[in-house]
């Protein structure tokens, strides 16, 4: 038997089947390795995006929102660098082939960047605006290799396109953060932001119910949470209105300024 196996083995080495499978082996390993690298980058993006969101929530409690926004933008630049790594990995590939590897990270980035955008502009960032910031200059070191294939694609610029579905899922998650921000604003005595958030959230909610179940399954799954968030925000506005009803409107300004006055002396007590 040993002899025969030896013989087989000899045959295998030269066999076209075996050499074909050696090619397959490399192709599969290369693909899996790439997938794994993308998963890791995606995890990094998720973590950094989450931290950016935490940072952005601080705007409701600090005097200089601009400072926080700037800091967040710097953090998001870091995240975009990582998305650039994904774009690098996907150069010449079909984005959808590895989509499952990085979709969690991209969704979290959309959540963070749209939150940042809302705080600054009080509007919903568009998909184009998201994508416009995902244009990368090609790294120096790849130029050498790239020059040979450079004729095919644009040589110095690399782009990453967020899919409409990832954008949608990111925006769906954004609503949770908006709800948190709304409750915080009420807690900080902000009488204005909650109503703005309520209107904005209602617009997004109506947008999602307009899309309904035509979207991907994951969107439908998030609709319930979205509806809950809207309910919480509407309740907060309701409470503000109901409580505010107890004083005549012309007194409101007085009351607010006196409140500040009342609260100051207390610091000594604490």
């Amino acid at each position: 038997v040993q002899k025969s196996d030896d013989h087989d083995n000899g045959a295998q080495i030269s066999s076209p089947v075996i050499s074909a499978f050696k090619v397959f082996q490399q192709e599969l390993d290369t693909k899996h390795d790439k997938y794994e690298r993308l998963v890791k980058i995606s995890r990094d993006i998720t973590i950094e995006s989450k931290r950016t969101i935490f940072l952005l929530h601080r705007v409701t409690s600090v005097p200089n929102a601009e400072e926080v926004l700037h800091e967040a933008d710097v953090k998001l630049d870091g995240v975009r660098q990582k998305i650039g790594l994904i774009a690098e990995e996907l150069r010449g590939e079909d984005l959808y082939q590895f989509h499952r590897a990085f979709t969690p990270g991209i969704q979290e980035y959309v959540e963070a960047v749209s939150f940042h955008h809302f705080i600054r502009h009080r509007t919903l960032i568009s998909l184009e605006e998201v994508n416009a910031r995902l244009v990368f200059m090609r790294h120096e070191r790849t130029d050498a290799k790239g020059s040979s294939e450079g004729s095919r694609s644009s040589p110095a610029v690399l782009t990453f396109q967020v899919t409409p579905t990832d954008y949608l899922l990111g925006v769906a998650d954004l609503t949770g953060e908006l709800m948190r921000m709304c409750i915080s604003s009420v807690g900080n005595g902000d009488m204005d932001t909650p109503f703005k958030l309520s209107d904005f959230l209602r617009e997004i909610h109506d947008g999602f119910s307009y899309i309904g179940n035509t979207g991907p399954y994951e969107v439908s799954k998030k609709l319930h949470t979205l509806r809950q968030s809207l309910g919480k925000v509407e309740d907060a506005c309701y409470t503000l209105r109901v409580r505010g009803s107890e004083i005549p409107k012309h007194m409101l300004a007085d009351v607010l300024s006196s409140r500040t006055a009342i609260m100051d002396p207390d610091e000594g007590v604490v």
């Binding site: 209602r202 119910s209 307009y210 309904g212 309701y238 109901v242």
Partner: protein, 227 residues
Amino acid sequence: MSVTEMFSYIQGFLSADQDIREDIRKVVQVLEQTAREILTVLQSVHQPSGFKDIPSKCLRARELFCTVRTQIGELKTKFPVEQYYRFHEHWRFVLQRLAFLAAFVVYLESESLVTREEVAKILGIEIDREKGFHLDVEDYLAGVLIMASELSRLAVNSVTAGDYSRPLRISNFINELDSGFRLLNLKNDPLRKRYDGLKYDVKKIEEVVYDLSIRGLAKEQEAGGDK
């Protein structure tokens, strides 16, 4: 008849069935689109500004229900009338949504509970199974329960919009609805579950009325005398 012939013959049956389902699915998809449009129209009553022109929103919704009737008319032609239950699953979901929308329009117009007959009329269908494409009791009830939860949201938002008398009226309405449902011996699981949700809606609206009462806001407007 050989086995091959027999199976070819059977394949005819199966294809026919699949074609029917395909046709139904397409019409239902269009119906769902219209239902979502009506929803978008009616949902805008929750906006602070939306309380002013409820009548015009209802009119717009009523127009869209014309389209619904046409589309359901289309749906009816897709399968033999006596096989309603064979394909029920395909349109059950959208029919419940439409029943909800019809109930909501009627409530916004007249603050009364739509009857099954009215829903059927608005959708251009029957209530007796024998007479054609009809509205099942369970689907009607499901629609009514969806509306109840929408009304609890409306009670909250009407206060935000400065309308203090509406929540009281909603509260009375929803209490009556609750008593009605308590007459039913619900076994059917999904309906039972929906009904359990009604308790929360009742409680929620009572708390709104409470908030108004304790601040004298309920009386205030009542004194002003609307409705």
